[in-house]
């Protein structure tokens, strides 16, 4: 656990990088262009690599394709949006899946995120899913930056996980974290989005340390345009 904590990324470093990148790229962009006005619905495809370990016991890496949906919708208060993401393995209901639902508070190109998250882990002995789901509270940030007037938007996310099932975990307060970066293309004349991204997620569930690394593709539609 100490190892986990000591290797805790460097959330502050990531945030600093995000601020630097976003700040550099958005000097001439208005705040309104950073988040779409209306709801955004996207279909996600993850090509995930799942690695897990229990002490020194390390089962073989598993490759799990996932499909899912991501939704982001505005609320009555413009800076606040609700978000949700559901990913399921294409290999069956008992395989890797994840669910996130939360709110996003945006100030210009930076957003603060608070969410509920549920994850399913793998057994290092069998290499299969545990069949048990762990629930977390998740908090973090997102940064977005437009690449000039090209229609490209880069984004970066970082989140820390806090367990909601105290009995199932050790004494550590922070059980895991995730980081995600991506490049989204939003054509000027069409309300659609296309995203290529990378995501790394690691956490400890029921004593098993798990790392999920995924290449993500997403196709979305911004229902009220940009």
């Amino acid at each position: 656990m100490t190892a986990l904590r000591s290797s805790m990324p460097p959330a502050a470093v990531l945030l600093a990088v995000a601020l630097l990148g976003a700040g550099a790229s958005t000097t001439s962009l208005r705040a309104q262009t950073m988040e779409p006005r209306g709801p955004v619905l996207a279909v996600l495809a993850h090509q995930a690599r799942v690695r897990s370990a229990l002490g020194d016991l390390v089962p073989p890496e598993r490759s799990v394709p996932q499909l899912g949906l991501e939704v982001s919708a505005p609320t009555f208060w413009r800076p606040l949006r609700v978000t949700g993401r559901l990913l399921r393995s294409t290999r069956g209901a008992d395989d890797l899946h994840s669910l996130d639902a939360g709110v996003l508070l945006s100030v210009r190109f930076i957003s603060l995120e608070a969410a509920y998250a549920s994850r399913r882990s793998y057994s290092p002995e069998s290499g299969l899913a545990h069949g048990r789901t762990a629930e977390f509270a998740r908090a973090g940030f997102r940064a977005r930056a437009g690449v000039g007037s090209s229609g490209f938007i880069m984004h970066l996310r970082g989140n820390a996980y806090v367990p909601t099932q105290r009995a199932a975990v050790a004494e550590d307060e922070i059980e895991g974290w995730d980081a995600e970066s991506g490049l989204t293309y939003v054509p000027r004349s069409l309300p659609v989005t296309a995203t290529l991204g990378y995501r790394l997620e690691r956490f400890r569930i029921f004593g098993v340390e798990q790392e999920v690394s995924a290449l993500t593709f997403a196709l979305g539609v911004a229902l009220l345009g940009r």
Partner: protein, 369 residues
């Protein structure tokens, strides 16, 4: 066959009898009408006799003939009516004091000013007393008449004029309403006048006021002394070429130039590199410690995303539009001259199209409301 003829005979006989009866009835009616027409003298003849009686100062005879003519079934033309009312008024109010019946004279005079608000009595009937009575009639009756001609040729430069006459000063407004579209156009209006010529235009230089088709023409008149209003309605058919479409000339937009500063390019590159660097950092530096890190290498797929970000940043430099600023004076002057030439050409084309636009208005017989 003989049986069939026998069977048809009774209905055939009844039909022939009915035909004969109808023809006889029609002939009898025609003869009756011919007798009635022959018995009634022609209006012009009667009025001529009335004139002769008036010259001979046989006023009672004039009035009797006039009343007989008014009660006859034969319709009178407008001119005949006017002549009848004048002769009757002169008979009711002659210069001889003993024969004067001013109250009775007002009735034909009122009828006369309703037909022609600006009427003047002929020299043969006119004398100061009757003239002042006519003025009194004019002042107590508010009547308005229009005097359209049956056909007008209207172009953009040559409007049509409709003469309108009132007994008292009135404000006038002329409106045309397209019966196809329902669009109403106020063509002309005036302040207090007794007689005016109201203008009817087909095009005002910007929009078409009268298109080919059926229209309604309304003359609204308001008596300035009493506030009484009256509306006279005509219908007319406009025929001619299609109305000219005048293209709107867009406003002049001063030319601008846009430049992308080196700092802006640098910011885009720096942003791209920062995000790409963060992606690689996530894949390498943020991994789990211990067994997992020892057993597996970092996911190299993050490099794909990082490379895409660098590529997007490079693309962004070339696609960046930069900030626009006004062009130099010479460029603006040249653009202005080109714009002015375009406007002049457009105006000339519009003038030509407008000059060609002509419509003919054919007025239906008048209806008063």
């Amino acid at each position: 066959m003989p049986n069939n003829i026998l069977r048809l005979r009774p209905p055939l006989a009844a039909f022939i009898c009915a035909l004969a009866f109808t023809s006889m009835l029609a002939a009898a009616r025609a003869a009756q009408a011919q007798d009635a027409a022959a018995a009634t003298p022609r209006a012009a003849e009667t009025i001529a006799l009335m004139r002769a009686d008036l010259v001979a100062k046989r006023y009672v005879a004039v009035i009797e003939r006039g009343n007989a003519l008014l009660s006859s079934p034969r319709p009178l033309s407008r001119d005949e009516q006017m002549e009848l009312w004048q002769v009757l008024a002169a008979a009711y109010y002659p210069p001889e004091v003993a024969a004067q019946r001013p109250d009775s004279a007002m009735l034909p005079l009122d009828a006369l000013v309703r037909l022609a608000p600006d009427v003047k009595l002929p020299q043969s009937f006119s004398w100061p007393g009757l003239d002042s009575l006519l003025e009194r009639s004019r002042s107590r009756v508010f009547a308005v008449v229009t005097r359209p001609v049956s056909e007008y040729a209207v172009s953009t430069t040559e409007p049509a004029y409709l003469t309108v006459v009132a007994t008292r000063p009135a404000r006038f407004r002329l409106t045309t309403i397209s019966l196809a579209s329902g669009v109403a156009t106020v063509q002309d209006s005036t302040d207090a006048r007794r007689d005016v010529m109201l203008r009817i235009r087909a095009h005002d230089g910007v929009r078409t006021l009268i298109s080919p088709g059926r229209h309604e023409l309304r003359v609204w008149a308001e008596d300035v002394s009493t506030g009484d209003t009256t509306v006279l309605v005509h219908h007319f058919t406009a025929s001619g070429g299609a109305p000219p479409a005048i293209a709107a000339v867009p406003a002049f937009v001063p030319p601008t130039t846009s430049t992308v500063s080196t700092a802006r390019r640098g910011a885009i590159v720096l942003g791209g590199l920062a995000f790409a660097g963060a992606t690689v950092a996530i894949a390498n530096g943020a991994r789990a410690e211990g067994a997992l890190r020892r057993e597996y290498r970092a996911d190299t797929r993050a490099l794909i995303v990082g490379a895409a970000m660098v590529g997007a940043a490079v693309t962004g430099i070339f696609m960046e539009r930069g900030r626009s600023r006004p062009a130099d004076e010479e460029t603006v002057r040249r653009a202005r001259a080109e714009y002015d030439a375009r406007v002049t050409a457009a105006e000339a084309a519009a003038r030509t199209r407008l000059a060609r636009y002509r419509v003919t208005l054919r007025i239906d017989p008048m209806e008063d409301r």
